[in-house]
């Protein structure tokens, strides 16, 4: 971590989460990226984006729960038409993928970009499988003539999962970019902000699914 100076981030931190403005000065022996720090890994800009995304999903989840409270019968009935096996599979895929991304970060921190690329590719393979499994599910619903307008349950189910699905695709684009840049030698043990930013985004995609899965598929 380099020298800290006042950045725009310092200025609107307080606005966003209501903390007081402080300028952090870390002792020189604590500059290793694995040590205590003041900001999450990666670029703060991506974290602002992550917060915005989480906010949307959070409101969507709460909306689902309250809409369900008004139509318990309907939600319970149609929830049974969902494919819980593929949802389980998808959950495991995303968790595994997230784990692989963590390993990729650890590799680059050890300055091993070869391993880093391998872990990234493995993570992308998991992501790709998620996309395939989910597409099969969507194709199944589409074939059954189900759309956003079928009923409130399917409206939420399709909105949430499709919105998340698009995030997986965006995440895949980001992972691809990271893999290419790693291959070009853009990251190293001392400079890997970019890859940590992308990784944080991918974990967010995973995190959202971890709540989505029980909420939409299991809780009744």
């Amino acid at each position: 971590m380099g020298r800290r100076c006042i950045t725009a981030a310092d200025l609107f931190l307080p606005a966003i989460i209501g903390c007081s403005l402080q300028i952090n000065v870390l002792p020189p022996n604590m500059t290793d990226s694995t040590q205590i720090r003041r900001y999450p890994p990666g670029d703060l800009a991506i974290w602002i984006f992550i917060i915005a995304e989480l906010l949307v999903f959070g409101i969507f989840f709460a909306s689902y729960a309250f809409a369900r409270a008004n139509n318990v019968e309907l939600f319970n009935t149609y929830q049974l038409t969902l494919d819980r096996q593929s949802a389980l599979l998808n959950t495991l895929l995303l968790i595994t993928s997230s784990y692989f991304v963590v390993r990729a970060i650890l590799s680059i921190q050890a300055d091993n970009s070869q391993h880093c690329i391998r872990w990234l590719l493995a993570a992308m393979a998991m992501g790709l499988m998620f996309i395939v499994v989910k597409s099969v599910e969507f194709a199944h619903h589409l074939g059954a003539g189900i759309s956003l307008s079928t009923n409130t349950f399917y409206m939420f189910y399709l909105s949430l999962t499709f919105f998340h699905f698009l995030h997986v695709i965006l995440g895949m684009v980001i992972l691809t970019t990271l893999a290419i840049k790693t291959r070009q030698g853009a990251y190293s043990a001392t400079q890997h902000d970019g890859i940590e930013s992308g990784a944080s985004y991918w974990h967010m995609v995973d995190l959202v699914w971890l709540i989505l899965f029980p909420l939409v598929y299991v809780m009744r």
């Binding site: 989460i17 720090r37 999450p40 409270a69 495991l92 650890l106 971890l210 598929y217 299991v218 809780m219």
Partner: protein, 89 residues
């Protein structure tokens, strides 16, 4: 913490996540339903979310307000969901 230990610890977290996911699935397959089951499943999910935030997203090493970003996110929608499910039953 050396590199090997870091790998070990995140692998442990990974297996914990897998295990908790399987528990959720088993509960669902066994056909358990009702408020208590639903809320337990939710609590498991929120806990998993916190594991991701702390260990995969690296927030456990962060001090200060950013430390709580994921926690707050899990807490607020989580409590809204609890409220809605409680009202519905």
């Amino acid at each position: 913490m050396n590199a090997l230990m870091k790998i070990k610890s995140c692998t442990w977290i990974y297996w914990a996540l897998v295990f908790l996911t399987l528990i959720t699935y088993v509960i669902s397959r066994a056909g358990y339903s009702g408020l208590t089951v639903s809320l337990s499943v939710l609590v498991i999910a929120l806990f998993k979310g916190q594991l991701i935030g702390n260990h995969f997203m690296g927030l456990s090493r962060v001090r200060g307000p950013w430390r709580w970003v994921i926690f707050i996110w899990l807490f607020i929608p989580g409590s809204l969901i609890v409220t809605a499910f409680t009202l519905a039953s």
